[in-house]
């Protein structure tokens, strides 16, 4: 899969790279454009100077003998222009050039670029070469300035991208995040579809539509399966009842010998196990179907006493030492049948998986009920609350007792926990405060 990145960061990286390439490519283009305009303007500028000088000299009548001195002074005062007498044969068309030469006033490197114009004018009918030179910004300086500006703009661009990206991501992905959170919290067993928040983004609306259809289909499948399981175990009840009945009848025969009698007893064991599993499957289906809707205030201490009384002989048989700590009595809200099943399953679990001459500690205090029993190894917490996951070597358990406990806790939002400390398995249920 490689490293993960956010969806919006992908185009962002590409956009940034693209902007960088374009901006870098723009640097020479800008440079050429600026330089071209510069030179054009300077050419015009030189031409204007030339025209100006030409006009001035043509309008002013200067005597021939004074002209030489004047030109000398003029040439000295006008460093940008030079007038030199030439022979008639040397007169040519105007000529434009660019040169780099020493600039006495430039203290930094002394070299500057000049754009020049060579032209020929006639003063008093004699040809003179006119040289006009204007300083042009040098190539490297222009390039540098453009690069710096471009880089600044690039930084502004990327900074803007990051801020916009964050804002947009937060805003446009909000419906998506909401949907994601709803899906994370979704449980099929509630058999309710999700009400997604409406969004004005087409893609999200489409996603919501598809998800709703998918969930609907799953709910239907789930319902069908549940109905099937419920019907199947219903159908099993009658043949199981007939089997139990037939065994009872068989036992009444006068001429049964010991072997036959033992056989009947050994058939009865797996039979009662099937009945128990079947009953538990039905019970789970009923809890999931939100039957047992009736709610009462229940005194757990009372139920615990009754159950301990019924199971007294099992506790004695295993020689388990029992310790019941009841700090204060409190009432919980729930269906009495379910609460009885919850308590009994945990109690039976604590007896069933106890060691011979083990300990059983029951704590009933401050909205919490816990059973601790002796054991050898810690159980796999990831498996014990699942259906048909038998996490110990005891073969006789149906693997559904704790699944039923979990289902009941889920229904009332009670919290069930397991821990293994000091060779004791601890199962605890925290009830909600009322």
């Amino acid at each position: 899969m490689g490293s993960m990145s956010k969806l919006l960061n992908k185009p962002f990286k590409a956009f940034t790279l693209y902007a960088l390439i374009i901006l870098i490519a723009s640097i020479p283009v800008y440079y050429w454009a600026v330089d071209f305009i510069w030179l054009q303007e300077l050419e015009e500028h030189n031409d204007i100077i030339k025209q100006n000088i030409k006009k001035q000299f043509e309008q002013t009548q200067i005597e021939e003998n004074k002209l030489k001195d004047l030109l000398e002074i003029w040439n000295q005062l006008q460093p940008n222009a030079q007038l030199t007498a030439v022979k008639g044969s040397e007169v040519r068309a105007d000529f434009v050039y660019t040169t780099i030469k020493k600039n006495e006033y430039d203290k930094e490197d002394g070299m500057d670029r000049f754009h020049g114009l060579t032209s020929y004018i006639f003063i008093n009918g004699k040809p003179y070469q006119l040289l006009v030179e204007t300083n042009v910004e040098e190539a490297d300086e222009t390039l540098f300035v453009i690069a710096v500006i471009t880089f600044l703009f690039f930084c502004l661009l990327v900074g803007g991208f990051i801020i916009l990206n964050r804002r947009i991501a937060h805003k446009i992905w909000k419906p998506f995040d909401d949907t994601l959170n709803q899906l994370k919290a979704y449980e099929l067993s509630t058999q309710k579809n999700i009400q997604f928040q409406e969004s004005n983004i087409e893609e999200f609306e489409e996603l919501h539509g598809v998800l709703n259809k998918l969930i609907e289909r799953n709910i239907n499948t789930f319902k069908q399966q549940k109905t099937f399981i419920e019907n199947a175990s219903h159908e099993l009840q009658t043949p199981l009842a007939v089997l139990t009945s037939k065994l009872d009848m068989l036992l009444q025969h006068e001429d049964l010998n010991e072997n036959q009698s033992n056989l009947i007893a050994s058939i009865r064991l797996p039979l009662s196990r099937i009945s128990r599993i079947n009953k538990n499957i039905l019970l789970l289906a009923k809890i999931e179907n939100e039957q047992f809707a009736e709610n009462n205030s229940i005194d757990l201490g009372l139920i615990l006493e009754e159950s301990l009384d019924l199971l007294e002989h099992y506790i004695q048989e295993k020689d388990i030492s029992i310790e019941v700590n009841r700090k204060d009595s409190f009432l919980i809200q729930g269906n009495i049948t379910l609460v009885e099943i919850l308590l009994n399953n945990l109690l039976i679990n604590a007896i069933h998986h106890n060691t011979k001459q083990g300990k059983l500690i029951i704590n009933l205090e401050a909205n919490q009920l816990s059973f601790s029993n002796s054991g050898i190894d810690a159980l796999d917490i990831g498996r014990i609350f699942k259906r048909f996951e038998v996490s110990s070597s005891q073969i006789s358990s149906s693997g559904l007792g704790l699944a039923i406990v979990t289902e009941i806790c889920k229904r009332y939002h009670w919290q069930i926990d397991y821990a293994f400390e000091d060779s004791l398995h601890h199962f605890s249920v925290k009830f909600q405060k009322f």
């Binding site: 007939v242 009848m249 009698s261 009953k279 039976i348």
Partner: protein, 224 residues
């Protein structure tokens, strides 16, 4: 004593009838809703065993009908549905007891026994079996008018045996009788042995004849 068994499962109905027929009970079977209505309208019974899922109708409406006619039949619902709502509803309408399938015949016999006794006009709370007498209200047992002290569980077992004379009762039926639904979650039923042994010992010591017999360690029988 007449008992009507309303049960659509033929084999089960037959077994119940066979099992109960031993003790001066006369059993009749109705396999459908219509047949049941017919029988109830024509005859009077001491006890009706009522299955809730019947071809042709809901067993609960038979119960409603019985109650409307102010008949005195004791009614025990025997249902595979094992739905707590049905149980509550059934008992509210006026059923005397509820037993979910599968059940042991011994348990059913004991309940039938108890329901019929309660319904009798001369409802005595005394069960007399030769030298043994059981006072139900005070829960006391005496042999030749001499009181025997039994624990609650021993007393419950004795009642079960007296309701199933000459029948073999399996250990698991006894365990379920003592621990209710929880018995089948725990596989060892050996504790039954200790309770039966104590009961036997106490009765014998009080001079009672040894009616209680052990059948190959798998069950017990009260031989009358």
């Amino acid at each position: 004593m007449k008992i009507l068994i309303i049960e659509d499962e033929k084999e089960l109905a037959k077994d119940i009838a066979d099992y109960l027929s031993g003790e001066n009970y006369l059993c009749e079977v109705a396999k459908t809703f219509a047949e049941a209505i017919d029988k109830i309208n024509s005859f009077t019974y001491d006890c009706v065993l009522l299955d809730l899922m019947l071809p042709g109708g809901d067993g609960l409406s038979i119960l409603e009908m019985l109650k409307k006619q102010h008949k005195h039949e004791g009614v025990i619902i025997i249902s595979a549905k094992n739905a707590i709502e049905d149980k509550i509803k059934g008992l509210q309408i006026g059923a005397d007891d509820y037993l979910s399938k599968p059940f042991h015949h011994a348990e059913l016999a004991a309940r039938v026994h108890s329901v019929i006794r309660r319904k009798q006009f001369d409802s005595s709370n005394l069960i007399q079996h030769k030298e043994l007498s059981v006072e139900l209200l005070s829960k006391t047992v005496s042999v030749y008018q001499k009181q025997v002290t039994l624990t609650k569980k021993e007393f419950d077992l004795l009642l079960l045996f007296l309701g199933n004379k000459n029948r073999v009762i399996s250990k698991s039926a006894l365990a379920e009788h003592l621990s209710g639904d929880m018995a089948d979650m725990l596989d060892s039923h050996d504790f039954v042995y200790a309770h039966v042994k104590n009961l036997k010992k106490k009765l014998t010591e009080a001079g009672c004849n040894p009616y209680l017999k052990t059948i190959y360690g798998t069950g017990y029988k009260w031989e009358a």
